[in-house]
Amino acid sequence: MPLNKVVKNAQEACADIQDNMTLMLGGFGLCGIPENCIAELVRQGVKGLTCISNNAGVDDFGLGLLLHQRQVKKMISSYVGENAEFERQMLSGELEVELIPQGTLATRCLAAGYGMPAVFTPAGVGTEVAEGKEVRNFHGRDYLLEMAFDADFAIVKACKGDTMGNLVFRATARNFNPLMAMAGKITIAEVEELVEPGDLDPNEIHTPGIYVHRIFKGEHYEKRIEQRTVRQ
């Protein structure tokens, strides 16, 4: 792989994503989601996906689009309640859902990106999340042993990126994106602005390009707001 990670578009970036693969998708709600890649996955119609994503989109946007096409076999998320089609598939048994605490989700991404096979967290101790998991006491406090994620692809969205795959995120659109970028066997980054090496300040890069395999400039970002809330 050359250091120049640029691919033409989402179609080229996602060309080898196959049925039944595990994908991580960045974003929190609809904030910071890889819109171009999601649209491309819908277009190419890949099926049986396991999607690791904090949320599952809404009915007509984000991962909701993949759910609508019944391309998702399993969702691994922390919160999924914004989506009627999701609810229907889940209740009918068409869709498998694994709900895990948000911090556990984040930390299992971090573990993968940092080569740690497993991590300890107190989240979920004494709850049904702990079922079947190893509990271990350190200094008088119980922790669950949680495994690093193992995903075929991570698909993230950044505000800016350079051709070497260095990424910068903006505001709370950062969320899970840099963590998932580190955690995929193959990481695809779509960016609002693609720049040349040297254009980003090396002190301000959130994700080093070593973690990123493909990068492209996305198009037509809708950046939909889920809960538009304003001051009176």
Binding site: F28, Y79, Q102, P122, A123, C159, A171, H206, K223, V230
Partner: protein, 217 residues
């Protein structure tokens, strides 16, 4: 009896200068409106922001800038963005001083249930399990009884738990209660609410000692 704003206002008194505070969705969000002048706090939003500001004025919403309830928000001078691992890292490391969240049930030993009702659509725990497992201090904001009139302060929770032995204080429409030593301790009553009513509506073990003052406005 307190309305939602009353509950939020009472909880706001628990907030002291310099605190880092995580506010859950619902009543807890309202707490920010009642923090007294001169008390400086930093609100943590677990999706990756410390120093959450008010909602934006119309026309200045930023799709990249939301809180954990997915509402558009703003920043303040001194705000910081970070990724979700660091966000829950600081929560897990107990750097957040106070967590305020809602609940469906709380037990007399401080267990909390607030994420799942069997038979109903499950939306997920979001960050609640991480928050309750690690918070130094947890205050629950909720109604004392559910819509059917059943107490939400129980000897043990009937719903699937979010966390165990973690709730320190509860502010309801009827009362302020401390949770310790396996019981609810009545600290204050809402204006116009009698101790008898609180006793009647608290299913778990309730300790009442001496005169119970009314919540001050």
């Amino acid at each position: 009896m307190l309305d939602k704003n009353g509950i939020a206002k009472r909880i706001a008194k628990e907030v002291t200068d310099g605190m880092y505070v995580n506010l859950g969705i619902g009543i807890p969000t309202l707490v920010a409106n009642f923090i007294p002048q001169g008390i400086e706090v930093m609100l943590q939003s677990e999706n990756g922001l410390l120093g959450m500001g008010p909602f934006p004025i119309s026309g200045e919403e930023d799709a990249d800038l939301i809180n954990a309830g997915k509402q558009t928000i703003t920043t303040l001078p001194g705000s910081v963005f970070f990724d979700s691992a660091m966000s829950f890292g600081m929560i897990r490391a107990r750097k957040v001083d106070l967590t305020i969240l809602g609940a469906m049930e709380v037990s007399e030993n401080g267990d909390i249930a607030n994420w799942k009702v069997p038979g109903k659509m499950v939306k997920g725990m979001g960050g609640a399990m991480d928050l309750v497992a690690s918070a130094k201090n947890i205050i629950v904001a909720m109604q004392h009884c559910d819509k059917a009139g059943n107490s939400k302060l129980l000897s043990s929770c009937s719903l699937p738990l979010t966390g165990v032995k973690c709730v320190k204080k509860i502010v309801t429409d009827l009362a302020v209660l401390e949770v310790k030593d396996g019981a609810f301790h009545l600290l204050e009553r809402a204006p116009g609410v009698s101790v008898d009513e609180i006793v009647a509506k608290t299913a778990g073990k309730l300790i009442v000692v001496g005169e119970v003052p009314e919540i001050e406005d």
